[in-house]
């Protein structure tokens, strides 16, 4: 009897232990943190910055404004789209936070929380680049005053039903400028790029920017408000307090309580009460009722899940999948269960390439970097790994039309030129294993790190080829999140990565090349290098590039109102960057291609000119009846017509 009790106690203890482990994400958030209210602090901040936050009345509005509303722009998506269904989407890593600001927030889940789903005042039309209305009903640009007037949609509400008013925009500026969020980029952007926000009444605001740019309207229209009533508790503990809170949002998709299983899955449910569901440019999009995100690390496993029908769509930009694993004669394709679609697009190209950290020893030597340019055989990668489908990237800012310096050509793989450059840096003798050495025995060896597990073979090709030029690349393949963390902490030597650039008229240079993002005070006031400078982490200047001349050009570029002048400056900066050789341009895909099951439907034109991927604009819809019909047919061996389509209406080459 005694023994039994003992066992029973142990069991209870074990259960308690398990319960306390498993339920750790359950405890009420309120009890975990002390109450906090920043309303007084925010009001005080407004009062302390009277030039920035202004309060006027409608009668103060200029009368000669030319209002526009973008309502004439064509609709997006297809009127055939049906709402409903559930789509399963793969995540490579579980997001480290649900915050959209602060450390770790810029991960691969952010598009679903913010970029793809939430509404801005206006959005660029994916075919025409002009703005169609989102949270705004109309807007007017006063170029001389560098000010945009925006009439807010009075119907707009947060997902919890609270109306979206001018105060949410004032608050957006406060929060982004606050040091609590630990997001230096945003703090800088909202502090330096804007000079004023004026509230005329609850649904009329004006926003003034620091400089008159060709796309001055985008500065205001792409702003996304923050729900002031939700962020009332933002304070010194913002990072922890908001780590896993899902905010009221303008997005059609919500994470409902209990739908976030840490480390495993997240479900997002379509908000059937979404205020914008009948708006012209939104009504045929966001069709899927439920998005079920599951974590599968290994791309090969994702493909197997897709082939089983567990995952609805699969991006096949890699030749390995498009040609080998799902060839046109694959049974599922030939019988019409899985459709293959290839779509050519036009947009800023993600700069896939090698980002050289010029703050590292040896890599601060221009000749070494030049040698790396010639010793890196991207052409072979494109030819053998991508099977000629991709093209060589020539600059870090390709795809921006006239702003791209198209006269610059990336340096080709050339062993002799590489060796000459290395020799100028003192690497003249080949060691016993063929790697160049300096006389003091320093070897010419660098680590290429990357968070792209599916592209690791690219790096082994580069490694093998570089050895011919006497250069050793050590390859370090990390998982996505750790790879990104490594570059954000600037601990890399050379990193293979790309930024996903949003659809903009012209490229940005400040983020990636300005010394402000390389060091804390890179130069002394007299222009000399500050001997005590510290590398600045958590910025996009992955090359730790700090050149006074570049700073000057960037400042001029940021201040210029004239498109032609900006183009000239962009070309000059691209030339400078090319000469500095701190980025080895890799490749870009002028297309995207996917495989999807038959029950996934797309508009007749498949996608829009400037789309970057198939999911971005939520054009597809899922037919659950077809899902069961397709699976039944597949089990019984009945075939459909195969669908393999190529959409070349926007092909540029």
């Amino acid at each position: 009897m005694l023994r039994n009790t003992h066992a029973y106690l142990l069991l209870v203890f074990a259960t308690l232990l398990l319960a306390s482990c498993g339920g750790s994400d359950a405890p009420t958030e309120e009890s975990e943190f002390a109450p906090y209210d920043n309303r007084a602090e925010v009001a005080q901040y407004y009062a302390d910055h009277p030039d920035f936050f202004r309060f006027k009345t409608r009668s103060d509005l200029p009368t000669d404004l030319q209002w526009q509303d973008g309502s004439e722009l064509p609709e997006i998506g297809s009127p055939d789209a049906k709402k409903g269904g559930m789509e399963t989407i793969r995540l490579q890593d579980f997001p480290r936070t649900l915050r959209i600001l602060g450390p770790d927030s810029n991960g691969s889940f952010r598009p679903w929380l913010l970029d793809y789903t939430t509404m801005a005042l206006g959005h660029r039309h994916p075919d025409l680049m002009d703005y169609f209305p989102g949270l705004a009903t109309k807007w007017a640009v006063d170029r001389e005053a560098k000010t945009i007037y925006v009439e807010l949609d009075p119907l707009a509400t947060w997902s919890d039903g609270v109306p979206i008013t001018a105060d949410d925009y004032l608050f957006m500026f406060w929060m982004h400028r606050s040091s609590y969020i630990t997001a230096p980029w945003y703090t800088n952007w909202y502090s330096t790029q804007y000079t004023n926000i004026t509230k005329y009444d609850d649904h009329l605001i004006s926003i003034s920017t620091v400089s008159e740019k060709p796309d001055i309207d985008s500065k205001a229209l792409e702003l996304r408000p923050l729900p002031r009533h939700f962020y009332q508790e933002v304070g010194p503990d913002y990072l922890e307090r908001y780590q896993w809170r899902f905010p009221p949002t303008t997005s059609p998709y919500l994470i409902e309580p209990g739908d976030l299983k840490k480390g495993r899955s997240i479900q997002m449910t379509r908000n059937t009460e979404w205020w914008a569901k009948d708006k012209k440019h939104f009504r045929y999009r966001f069709n899927v009722d439920k998005m079920n995100f599951i974590v599968i690390r290994d791309t090969a496993k994702v493909f197997e899940a897709f082939k089983r029908g567990d995952i609805d769509q699969f991006a096949m930009n890699l030749a390995e999948y498009w040609y080998e694993k799902l060839p046109n004669d694959d049974a599922d394709v030939a019988n019409g269960y899985i459709h293959k679609k290839l779509f050519f697009n036009q947009r800023p190209r993600p700069p896939y390439g090698l980002w050289i950290n010029t703050a590292q020893p040896l890599l601060d030597d221009q000749n070494v970097r030049l040698g790396l340019q010639y010793a890196t055989n991207w052409d072979l990668v494109i030819e053998t790994f991508f099977r000629g489908d991709s093209d060589r990237l020539n600059t870090a800012n390709d795809g921006y039309g006239p702003f791209t310096a198209s006269h610059i050509k990336a340096r080709p793989f050339d062993i002799n030129q590489a060796q000459e450059a290395f020799a100028r840096a003192g690497f003249t003798e080949r060691g016993p294993n063929g790697i160049l050495m300096r006389e003091d025995g320093t070897r010419l060896a660098f680590t290429i790190s990357s968070g792209y597990e599916s592209l690791k073979d690219v790096l082994t090709i580069l490694k093998e080829e570089a050895a011919k030029a006497g250069l050793e690349y050590r390859v370090e393949v990390l998982d996505g999140t750790s790879g990104w963390k490594k570059v954000q902490e600037k601990k890399h030597e050379i990193h293979f990565a790309a930024f996903g650039y949003s659809l903009e008229l012209y490229p940005r240079f400040w983020e990636t090349y300005h010394s402000d993002n390389a060091y804390d005070k890179a130069f002394l006031d007299n222009g000399e290098i500050n001997p005590a400078r510290q590398i600045k982490t958590q910025t996009n200047n992955l090359e730790t590039l700090a050149i006074p001349e570049m700073d000057r050009l960037i400042d001029a570029y940021r201040a210029s109102p004239d498109a032609d002048e900006m183009i000239a400056l962009a070309h000059e900066m691209s030339d400078l960057h090319h000469d500095y050789a701190s980025f080895v341009p890799g490749f870009y895909n002028g297309f995207f291609r996917i495989g999807h099951w038959r029950w996934v439907n797309y508009p007749a034109n498949f996608s829009h000119k400037h789309a970057s991927n198939h999911l971005q604009y939520f054009l597809h819809w899922i037919d659950e009846d077809e899902r069961s019909a397709t699976m039944d047919a597949r089990n019984q061996g009945r075939a459909f017509d195969p669908v393999i389509e190529s959409f070349e209406q926007h092909r540029s080459r």
Partner: protein, 355 residues
């Protein structure tokens, strides 16, 4: 040192030879080890012998010979397959290539495309190529060699630590024994695989491949030596109370002498029977770590990495997983057979001196 075998040992060896499965497995493993030691001679992109302009070259070992030495006009390592084709038809100059003329790192893009290709005897890819066109046989051979060497080093280290601490615990007993037992109980509950993953993920990447392998070894040893101590401790306890130990002590032998000269040879039987199984677990562990991506750095050839590629391409390139899986199964089976045979032939129920 004289190699005299006691009658007991000789009996055990005879018994081992009589167990055919174990004995032939042992011979096979010995032959395999020899082949693997000489892997550079039969699986290599470097030629065995090159005769060029009257000079003989033996490129297999040593520094690289740049292409310019053979009039190829480049400073990096000679492509000997290419050289052989160029020199074909010439009597003066010739190249002898190894049977498998590929090293485990080179990407052989057939038709200008990198993809797994099925076994192709004419081209010298006897087991086909992996996803980036590297020869699977070459990667298997070098991967297995690394795994075996690793396992051997692992076994030796674990045993040295295990024997020293285990024997001391058994021999000294008392507080020393008590403290170490508790320590080992705690230590052995640290999850080994997780510790390896954690420690290995913080090793700086700048360290060379050899250094990384050694660190991996040290970490694995650090968390695996405990199991051996228990066996050694009980065995030593048992032997310590035997008359011959008493006699040795009476004759004035020191502690070290008693442990290593008198006790150790008598507990060796236990030790020997465990050896093959330690090797099996070491190979399995290092393969598992590679499979999970925490083992040897890219692009070191390894069984785990091949298995991972194979499982990722089950449908399109089954030859990858078949090769890797068969090798692993054969290797582990052979070693296990040897282990079983040793265990049986060393069974103290049949051949112990003291009953």
């Amino acid at each position: 040192m004289r190699l005299t075998l006691t009658p007991q040992t000789r009996k055990k060896l005879t018994r081992f030879k009589q167990i055919k499965v174990g004995y032939f497995s042992f011979l096979a493993l010995a032959a395999l080890s020899l082949l693997l030691c000489l892997a550079e001679l039969w699986v290599n992109s470097r030629a065995l012998v090159v005769k060029y302009e009257g000079n003989l070259y033996f490129p297999t070992y040593g520094a690289i010979i740049p292409g310019s030495s053979f009039g190829l006009g480049y400073e990096y390592e000679t492509n000997y397959r290419d050289l052989q084709q160029r020199l074909a038809g010439s009597d003066e100059n010739w190249v002898v290539l190894p049977p498998v003329p590929y090293n485990p790192f080179e990407n052989d893009a057939q038709g200008g495309i990198l993809r797994p290709t099925p076994p192709d005897i004419d081209r010298g890819h006897y087991l086909g190529t992996d996803t980036t066109g590297r020869d699977i046989l070459a990667r298997l051979v070098y991967g297995t060699r690394t795994a075996l060497l690793f396992a051997l080093a692992f076994m030796v280290s674990v045993y040295v630590i295990g024997i020293v601490i285990g024997c001391s615990m058994g021999y000294f007993g008392g507080a020393f024994d008590l403290i170490f037992q508790r320590f080992i109980e705690i230590w052995s509950n640290v999850p080994f695989l997780y510790m390896v993953i954690i420690v290995f993920s913080i090793i700086p990447i700048e360290s060379s491949i050899a250094a990384r392998v050694i660190i991996l070894l040290v970490v694995m040893v650090l968390f695996s030596w405990t199991s051996m101590t228990y066996y050694m401790r009980t065995e030593t306890y048992k032997e310590k109370s035997r008359d011959y130990v008493m006699a040795a002590r009476v004759l004035g032998a020191g502690t070290m002498r008693i442990i290593f000269k008198h006790i150790l040879p008598n507990v060796l039987a236990t030790l020997v029977t465990f050896m093959p199984f330690t090797i099996v677990s070491a190979i399995a562990a290092v393969t598992a770590l590679d499979f999970l991506g925490f083992g040897l750095p890219v692009p070191t050839p390894s069984l785990g990495e091949l298995l991972k590629q194979g499982t990722g391409n089950l449908r399109t390139a089954p030859w990858i997983v078949i090769s890797a899986f068969t090798t692993l199964v054969l290797l582990l089976t052979i070693v296990t057979f040897i282990g079983e045979a040793i265990r049986e032939s060393f069974d103290p129920k049949k051949y112990t001196l003291y009953r």
